[in-house]
Amino acid sequence: MELTRILQLVFTGLIMGGIYALIAVGLNLIYGTMRLLNIAHGELIMLGAYTTYWLYMMYGVSPLLSMVLVLGLSAVIGLVVCLFLFFPVIRSSRSIAVLESNSLLIFFGLSFIFTNTASLLWTADIRGYSYMTQVVHIAGVPLMHNRLLALGIALLVCIACYILLQKTMLGKAIRALIQDREASQLVGINANFIYLFSFGVAFGMAGLAGCLLSMFYEITPFMGLPYTIIAFIVIVLGGLGNILGSLLGGFLLGLLETIGVSVTSPGLRPILSYSLFILIILIRPKGIFGRGVY
């Protein structure tokens, strides 16, 4: 294969990987800190994409500006869901196992509500808009501005996440809570604050990912579930509860998918991802990085 072709694959892989990482980190943050598996995660992506779309089409609001707005709105939804649904359920569940299955159902319910409200309001039509479609050549590879922007923002947020987790007290508290809930509370970590924080950040990042995706992918009410499943694959790759693993896992999956598709065919993309997923969960259920990269 010639060099440009390889570079093209790497760029495409990185762009998808960046988005995957954004989505997966949020999902994993909620799982790691609270042991809740958010099936409705993809729906926030869908809502973010629609919000960006409507703001652009109806009021001409630039997606760059919507990005901030969507991030904030999604984070608020996260806080509300956490406060009014999950705090009571956490209190009333007898054990972690009960909490896990109960929360799963709530998220299923939320996913139904979001998807079908969107279908009801905006019909099931596929929508899209074009924004920043100029092409720029980097090392001979033609790339659209909007994709570069998405990659840049995804990278920026991922790096911010890394710094937050590794270099700040709050990050330390989050990692401690993931490692051992009881012990971390004994040393004075405010678990409820971290739960709220995780929900806000996770939902916000999912919304942001939706905003970025809307610039170059089609928008439908049902676009969420595939991304939820991709996020599952990524967090399984990187290890449940291992946030840094998800960052790396996202980029890894993006690259693997792009390369896999280019040597086989686009129709096989889901099969490739699911085979990888099933294999990893069966062979290394703790993720390819194990428990090492906290």
């Binding site: 109960n102 799963l104 319910g109 509500i113 079908n116 009801l120 499943i229 096989l268 099969i271 699911y274």
Partner: protein, 317 residues
């Protein structure tokens, strides 16, 4: 858990009487009812069979499976491929065996993972089979989807589903009141402890998984004829698994009466709304799920049963 021998004989007899009456009613229904009512009852029995078989694994052991859609789709495809070549009843049995066989084949590695891993693994399985069939169909036939011609009459399909659902309900009921059921419940309570006292948990989980998978296979095969058109998107639709879970949770996870009550309630709601307002129906389904978990995590049937048990105890005094 209540054992079979502690129950008084009077109650047992009354229960048998009620079951007999219901069965008689279901057998005679097609002779008097309109086609519309027969097909609604057919749908109802289909969901009862799916939910009753789902609780055998997921209700009793706590391994929440989203794999029912995968087995449903396999059954539907087996029927589509064998229809008009071998007798219809034979295909249904074969579909059950195929789904059970598939579950047995993947059971040991799959059931090694627990909790949320198992949930997303089975969701992945459903999606995997869906895309596998889409690709196979395109490769083999060039198109996605199959039309089934000269399908049996509504009444024949009705009685087939009746037989399957009666077997499913009886299986779930019988297992709960057997040693096998006790072993499954011990997995739900504490799998490691159950293992430690010598219960072969991996064997029991595996058996329950295969048994539970055989029914969606049979139901799927009959439904393929009922719809007379199938494609991977509709028969491997994860919505089937989701609906089954809602039904089971509405009724209460731990016994077959709950599964039946849940299936009846949801099917009636769906009948009223699904055809004309599909999105509204799904929103209501979502609201019910959130509401049940938030305010009545034990389901509808269990609290009522408890209250009845309390009452009968008081009246004995």
């Amino acid at each position: 858990m209540e054992g079979g021998f502690t129950r008084d004989m009077g109650r047992e007899k009354r229960l048998l009487g009620v079951v007999g009456l219901i069965l008689l009613f279901l057998c005679l229904l097609p002779l008097v009812a309109s086609d519309y009512h027969v097909s609604v009852t057919l749908d109802l029995m289909m969901w009862i069979a799916l939910t009753a078989s789902w609780i055998v694994l997921s209700g009793y052991t706590g391994y929440i499976s989203l794999g029912h859609s995968a087995f449903f789709g396999l059954g539907a495809y087996l029927m589509a491929m064998t229809w008009t070549r071998i007798p219809f009843g034979f295909s249904v049995v074969l579909a059950g065996l195929l789904s059970a066989g598939f579950a047995f084949a993947i059971g040991f590695p799959f059931l090694r993972v627990r909790g949320p891993y198992f949930v997303i693994l089975t969701l992945g399985l459903t999606e995997f089979t869906k895309y596998l069939f889409i690709n196979l169909e395109i490769k083999l036939g060039g198109t996605v989807g199959r039309i089934l011609m000269m399908t049996p009459s509504l009444h024949i399909l009705y009685y087939s589903i009746l037989v399957v659902s009666v077997i499913a309900v009886a299986t779930a009921y019988y297992i709960k009141n057997s040693r096998f059921g006790t072993a499954l419940f011990s997995i739900k309570e504490d799998e490691d402890a159950a293992n430690a006292i010598g219960i072969n948990t991996s064997l029991y989980k595996w058996l329950a998984f295969g048994l539970s998978a055989s029914f969606p296979g049979m139901v799927g095969s009959i439904l393929a004829l009922r719809r007379s058109y199938i494609d991977p998107y509709t028969v491997f639709n994860p919505i089937v698994s989701f609906q089954v879970i809602v039904m089971a949770f509405v009724g209460g996870l731990e016994d077959v009466e709950g599964a039946i009550v849940g299936a009846v309630i949801l099917t009636l709601v769906s009948e009223a709304l699904w055809a004309r307002y599909p999105y509204t129906y799904m929103i209501i389904l979502g609201v019910i799920m959130v509401f049940i978990v938030r305010f009545m995590p034990l389901g509808l049937v269990f609290p009522i049963k408890q209250r009845l048990a309390k009452k009968s105890k008081e009246s004995h005094r």
